[in-house]
C-alpha cells in the first residue's frame, strides 16, 4: 500500500446518507478473482444508464460523469458511508477509480477497516463541516480541498479549517504504507505462546469431535 500524507484536490460531492457498499460496487462485479480493475464499476448503477442494453451510456446528471468533477481525488458524502456488505471490493473500487480520501460525518465499521488497508484516508468531520464542503464543491467544482494526515486537518482556500480524529496506529500505517501481516508477525513469539495454551481450550477448536 502506498504511503499518503498531504492530498490537495478538487472533490466530488455525493450529498446522500447511508451510501451502502451495494451502491459503491454492485454484486455482479464481485465474481472476479482479481484484486484490480474495479474502478470502472464504481457506483455502477448510478453512473450508467439503465435503459441501454449494454449499460455503457454514462448518465450525464451523475456527479462523477460531469467533466468538471473528473479527476477529483476526494469524495464527500453524508453519514454512515459504506454501510452494508463487508466487500473490500468497495474500497478497491474507490481507490482504483482514483479517490485517495473520503470525507463524511461517519463511516460504517467494516468499510472503515477495509479503507485503511487500502491507503484511503477517511476523514470524519461534523455534519455542519461536511455540509459546508458539500456546498462549496457543488457550487464550484474546481474548489480545492487539502487533507493533511500528519496534522489531521482538512482545509480550503476560503478559510475552512477542521480537525479530524484518527487512531494513531492507523495514521502511522497510512503515513508509512505498512502491511498489517508483517506488523502482527513482530509478535510471533507471543502468538506461539498464546496458541500453545489456547490449544488446550478444546471448546475453542472448530472441530472438537473425532
Amino acid at each position: 500500500m502506498e504511503p499518503i500524507n498531504i492530498l490537495t484536490s478538487k472533490a466530488a460531492p455525493l450529498p446522500f446518507p447511508n451510501i451502502d457498499t451495494d451502491q459503491i460496487i454492485p454484486k455482479q462485479f464481485l465474481k472476479r478473482i482479481e484484486r484490480t480493475g474495479y474502478g470502472e464499476f464504481l457506483f455502477f448503477d448510478w453512473r450508467y444508464d439503465l435503459s441501454t442494453p449494454d449499460h455503457v451510456e454514462e448518465r450525464k446528471d451523475f456527479v462523477l460523469n460531469k467533466p468538471e468533477h473528473k479527476e477529483a481525488e476526494i469524495l464527500i458524502a453524508e453519514k454512515n458511508f459504506g454501510c452494508g456488505s463487508s466487500r473490500e471490493h468497495a474500497a478497491w473500487a474507490i481507490n482504483q477509480y482514483g479517490f485517495r480520501a473520503v470525507i463524511a460525518p461517519s463511516f460504517a465499521d467494516i468499510f472503515f477497516s477495509n479503507a485503511g488497508k487500502n491507503g484511503i484516508i477517511l476523514a470524519r468531520l461534523t455534519e455542519d463541516e461536511v455540509k459546508t464542503l458539500l456546498e462549496r464543491s457543488t457550487a464550484n467544482p474546481e474548489h480545492k480541498i487539502t487533507i493533511n494526515l500528519e496534522a489531521q486537518t482538512v482545509t480550503d482556500e476560503l478559510g475552512f479549517n477542521a480537525h479530524f480524529d484518527i487512531d494513531p496506529f492507523r495514521k502511522y500505517c497510512l503515513l508509512n504504507g505498512l502491511d498489517d501481516i508483517g506488523l502482527t508477525l513482530r509478535h510471533e513469539k507471543e502468538l506461539d505462546s498464546f496458541e500453545s495454551k489456547h490449544n488446550k481450550d478444546f471448546w475453542s477448536l472448530p472441530k472438537t469431535a473425532a
Binding site: D22, E78, H198, W203
Partner: protein, 478 residues
Amino acid sequence: MSKAPKTLFEKVWQQHVVAEPEGEPTILYIDLHLVHEVTSPQAFEGLRLAGRKLRRPDRHIATVDHNVPTTSAYDRLHIVDQIAATQVNALRKNCADFGVEFFDVQDASQGIVHMIGPELGATKPGMTIVCGDSHTSTHGAFGALAFGIGTSEVEHVMATQTLPQSKPKTFRITVDGELPFGVTAKDIILDIIGKIGTDGATGYAVEYAGSAIRALSMEGRMTICNMSIEAGARAGMIAPDETTFAYLMGRRFSPQGAAWDEAVAHWKTLPTEEGATFDRELHIDAATLAPAVTWGTSPGMHATIDGKVPLLAEAKTEADRKSFQRAYEYMGLKPGTPMEEIKIDTVFLGSCTNGRIEDLRAAAAVVKGHHIATKIRAMVVPGSQAVKRQAEEEGLDKIFKTAGFEWREPGCSMCLGMNPDILQPEERCASTSNRNFEGRQGRGGRTHLVSPEMAAAAAITGHFTDIRKWKQTEGASR
C-alpha cells in the same frame, strides 16, 4: 485482575488477547474462519505472492454459497456464468492447495456459511469467529464473538490466525415480555434497527438480552444476531443457555462424552454477570411489537403491517427527508399508502436471515391448503442441504410445491442476486432476507423485508397481509 462484574463480550474478548502492544490495536486470536468463494480468492492469491501458508488450516472451513445456481443439482455442477464458475473453481483449488476442509456444492453439509457453522457444531459459545461476510454476526447467537471482515483481513487471519482489533464499546438491548401473536424474531430486529437507526450501533458489540430473547429458539436468535450489522454493529451476541446446549449436543464437530460436560461447564461461565455495565442500554417491551414490513431502501425504513408508508413530514432530519424522497421514487410508492394495499410480484423465502427449518415450517403452516395468487412468482431456497433434507422429510417441500412455490437448491440466491436469481427492474418482492438496498436483489428491483410468515401470506393474497388476522382464522404455528 479486576473483580468487577464482566459482560459476555468482555470475557470472550479477554480470552483471545494475544498481545496488547502499546499504542496499537489488540492482537486477537481467531478460533474459526469461515471461507466462501466471493471474498477469499484475492486473499489466497496474496498468500501465494508472499510465499505464506495458512497458520492453522484446521481452523478454517469453506463452502460455496453466494454464486451457486439454485435451480438444480445439474446446473450447480455446470455453472453457465463463466466468471462465477471460475470463482467457484478457484475456491476448490485454493482449499486443496492450502489444506482447508471444503464443503462443495453438492456435499451433504453445503449451505450458506452462516447456516453450516452452527449445523456442523463448528460454531460454539465463547469462540471468536470471522468470515469475509458482514452477516457473520449470526454466530453471535451462540455466545461467540463473531464479525464480518474484508478480504485483507481474511488474508491476515489465514497467515496469522489473528486480527488486530480495536475494542468496540458495548451496547445491551433488552427485550422483555411476551411476543404478541404473529410477531417473530425478524420483527424484533427490524424494530430495533428502526429505533436506533442503521448506524445506531456502529462502533459497538451488541448483547441481546431479556425474557423475549431467552424465549427464542436458536433459529430465532440467529435471525436477530444476523441483522446486527444492519444497525451498524459488527457483532451481536446472546448468552449461551440450555437452548444453546441442546442445539449443539451431538452435532458433528461438537465435543462428546466427558469433553462435552467440560465444554458446557466452561460455557456456563460466559454469561454477563449481574451488575456488569454497558456503554449503552436500550429496553424494549415485546408486547408493543407488531409484524414489520420495510417500505424504503434501508432496513430502518419500515412500518408495521397495519401502518402506512410514512409522509415526508414524518422525516425527523434533513438527511431522512432526502432519503425518504429518494426511496418513494425508487420503490414506486406514494406516501400515506396503507402497507396492506401494496401489491407484490415475487416472494423470496430463504437467506442466512430466515432460511432455517423453523422459518420454513412457519411459512409452510401459512401456505398449507392455499395457492399463491395469480401472476406471483414465489420461491423457497433452503439455507443449507441439511435444512432442505429436513424439510423434505417433513413434507414441507410438497406443501410449497402444491401451493405454487418453486423448491430450490441451497444458497444465498436472491438475497443478493449474485447467481441467476434476480429481480427485474420495478419487480416488487416480499423477501425474508436482510437488505432492501437499491438494486440489492437486481438492478431496479424493489425489496420489502418481512418475516417468513408475512412473506407466505403475501404470496397467497398477492399483497402484504396482516398475519395476525390471517392466523386467527387459520390457526397459529408460532
